[in-house]
């Protein structure tokens, strides 16, 4: 920035649209230089793109001549951009702007870096899993299977049963708690304490939930207890806080006019809640519940502890070990059996199925949320 402030103070000039006759112009060269410019020099809009392209080109050249892999190639390209753009900005625009451009580049780099694992994960799971999935994979259990073949039928049924049981336990408790917090608790000490505890409960490690279920049932059934319902208890400990949080949020969105209109008609409070408040918030509640189910469907650690693992189909929640998809993935990869590649292939296939289930639940939840969103708020 070459701002020269003339000794007599800044003189701002405004360019006039009106043509001034040549003869009237008395401006000399020195005079013109003494004007304080209204704009200071800026890099053109396409400057970042240009720098990035040049950096990429340089990096490609280096990569080709030195034989680098893709990772150093990207790394050098990004680093070159991070250095070159602020330097150019410093030369033209000044140091403050250079710092700004550096931070902008850094922030976008962080964003790109955060996307790398997601893209890589989806790519690998699709690439390794797609070839495995066929009719047999989806309809056979692992009973009497050594080596090739077999499938995830028993694990899918197990996940369905355990997650379903967890939902049956958590949804009533979670929703009723949300109703208590919004409709009855008000600002009482109990309501505030429960809100806080629910928040803290969302942070319980999943493995601790599994240990809790084990420690609870071992008192009744003795050591080494493994059964599906225990897994459902562990999962509901993780699911309840999510249901409460989303349910509470949705109930609070219901306008008060609706409740008061119902009271004015002489409807008791409990019928108002059941017939007016809940139907109004139903879309949001279903969204929250679906997201909660998606969250616990992928939980592994508690099921590893209390539901155990088995090769056969088990339809009884209350007896014997029960296989679930996440546990299946874990054991298929870490204990793949003698020709290791078959077990590991099955792990990738099961991972793909699990991701598809979880993502589908997420998408369904969002679709419901958008469709039935309350018209007020947001």
């Amino acid at each position: 920035m070459n701002v020269r402030i003339p000794p007599q103070g800044p003189r701002l000039t405004v360019k006039s649209e009106i043509e001034i006759p040549i003869g009237d112009r008395h401006e000399t060269e020195a005079d013109r230089r003494s004007h304080l410019p209204l704009t200071h020099p800026r890099l053109p809009r396409w400057a970042p793109a240009l720098v990035a392209t040049l950096a990429a080109a340089t990096s490609t050249l280096l990569a080709l001549t030195l034989g680098w892999g893709p990772i150093p190639w990207v790394l050098v390209g990004v680093l070159l951009t991070l250095v070159a753009l602020p330097l150019w900005a410093r030369a033209v625009e000044g140091s403050r702007s250079a710092k700004d451009r550096l931070v902008t580049s850094l922030v976008w780099t962080a964003f790109g870096l955060a996307l790398v694992p997601l893209v890589s994960l989806v790519w690998e799971v699709l690439g390794n899993g797609l070839g495995v999935i066929d009719a047999e994979f989806l309809t056979y259990s692992m009973r009497n299977i050594v080596g090739e073949g077999g499938g995830i039928y028993h694990a899918m049924i197990g996940t369905l049963l355990v997650t379903g049981a967890a939902a049956v336990i958590s949804i009533p408790i979670g929703l009723l708690t949300a109703i208590y917090l919004v409709e009855y608790g008000g600002t009482s000490r109990l309501a505030r304490a429960i809100t806080f505890l629910v928040d803290v409960m969302t942070g319980i490690p999943s493995i601790v939930a599994g240990l809790f279920a084990y420690a609870l049932f071992v008192l009744f059934f003795g050591e080494g207890i493994r059964f599906g319902f225990g897994g459902a208890i562990a999962l509901s400990l993780l699911m309840i806080p999510i249901v409460v949080r989303s349910g509470e949020e949705m109930l609070r969105l219901v306008p008060h006019d609706l409740r008061e209109a119902s009271y004015a008609l002489g409807v008791p409070k409990w019928r108002t809640v059941v017939k007016v408040v809940i139907p109004t918030a139903l879309g949001g509640i279903v969204t929250g519940v679906t997201l909660a189910v998606a969250r616990v469907a992928g939980e592994t650690a508690p099921l590893l502890i209390i539901a155990g693992s088995t090769d056969s189909l088990n339809l009884n929640l209350f007896g014997e070990r029960m296989m679930t998809l996440p546990v299946y993935i874990y054991y298929s990869y870490t204990q793949p059996g003698v020709p290791a590649e078959y077990g590991q292939e099955r792990a990738w296939g099961a991972a793909l199925v699990l991701i598809v289930i979880v993502m589908a639940l997420n998408l369904i939840a969002r679709a419901i949320g958008r469709r039935y969103a309350p018209k007020t708020g947001r």
Partner: protein
């Protein structure tokens, strides 16, 4: 939570029986949650206590419960620390992109993509970490060992499978990132527009605007977001259990084959085959993990709650 609701004005004639029953059921459900949380502490303590006076030799080589849990606790904290060191700057960057840098119509889909990161099950992260990330990192570990071996963290010998605590920390960072991002971006967008525009009107660049108005406003929010991410990283099980080749030592060497295990991963690995006092010892270690994560989450939520009260 910020919405202050005026309690519905109930008609006060006679208490109808239906109302009494319904409010009673709702209150019971709420109390069930308190009981469940207390139950976690009580049952873990009940089942963990026998391990306190376990004779030597029953705890897998450790002489008593303290020397059993100590190295595990060290590993847990080390892995979580690595995860936070990596995740925090990245998460703040992503949150800034979503809240302030990306064009408005892009920021929503971007936020959705980051939420997808949180939706991926942890066992799939474990699978990806052991099969893809680990092998990819081996050349980097070899390079670190050769060139930076004089730093104790990279003393080596470098692992040839990539199953190191640094890999586990990176996977944990990826899992903690969406949590930190979700909370910080919420707080960034809550910064009063007037403050931001005032800074810009005074000629501040975008970064100066962030430094002068956004960051001071959201300081406590960032702290609590990082602590919630810490809670996630401390308790994460499967990713670590699959990625790490653990041997229960205490070392700061991040890239070798010999790594400290974490409490959660150790439970997942040992529990299926544990019997007798071994089970009790694992439950006792789970109790320690529960207490630590509870304390971390409690502090984080308390900071958030205090911030909300101040804003009101």
């Amino acid at each position: 939570m910020t919405t202050t609701t005026t309690p519905a004005r109930t008609p006060k004639p006679r208490q109808r029986r239906g109302d009494l029953v319904f409010s009673g059921i709702a209150r019971t459900a709420a109390l069930v949650i308190v009981v469940a949380l207390a139950g976690v502490a009580i049952f873990l303590t009940l089942e963990g206590l026998p391990a306190l006076d376990a004779p030597p030799g029953k705890l897998g080589g450790a002489s008593n419960i303290v020397t059993f849990i100590g190295p595990l606790l060290f590993g847990t904290l080390l892995a979580a620390l690595i995860a936070l060191v990596i995740a925090t700057p990245l998460a703040l960057g992503v949150a800034l992109v979503i809240a302030l840098y990306a064009p408005l119509r892009l920021s929503k889909p971007i936020g959705y993509v980051i939420d997808l990161l949180a939706a991926v099950p942890s066992v799939v992260y474990g699978l990806w970490g052991i099969a893809v990330l680990g092998p990819q990192l081996v050349p980097a570990y070899l390079w670190l060992d050769r060139n930076l071996g004089w730093i104790p963290f990279f003393a080596g010998p470098a692992s040839t499978t990539g199953k190191t605590i640094l890999t586990a920390g990176i996977v944990l960072a990826i899992m903690a990132l969406p949590i930190i991002t979700a909370i910080t971006r919420e707080i960034f967008t809550q910064t009063p527009t007037l403050q931001k525009e005032a800074a810009l009107a005074l000629g501040a660049t975008r970064w100066e605007m962030i430094r002068l108005s956004v960051l001071p406003y959201s300081k406590s929010g960032i702290v609590s977001a990082v602590m919630l991410g810490l809670g996630r990283a401390l308790g994460e099980t499967m990713a670590v259990a699959m990625v790490l080749s653990a041997s229960g030592v205490v070392t700061f060497n991040l890239i070798s084959n010999v790594n400290p295990s974490t409490i959660a991963a150790n439970i997942a690995l040992q529990f299926p085959e544990a019997t007798g006092l071994g089970v009790n010892a694992l439950i006792a270690s789970g109790l320690v993990l529960f207490v630590i994560t509870f304390a971390v989450n409690f502090t984080a939520r308390a900071i958030i709650a205090r911030g909300e009260r101040r804003l009101r």
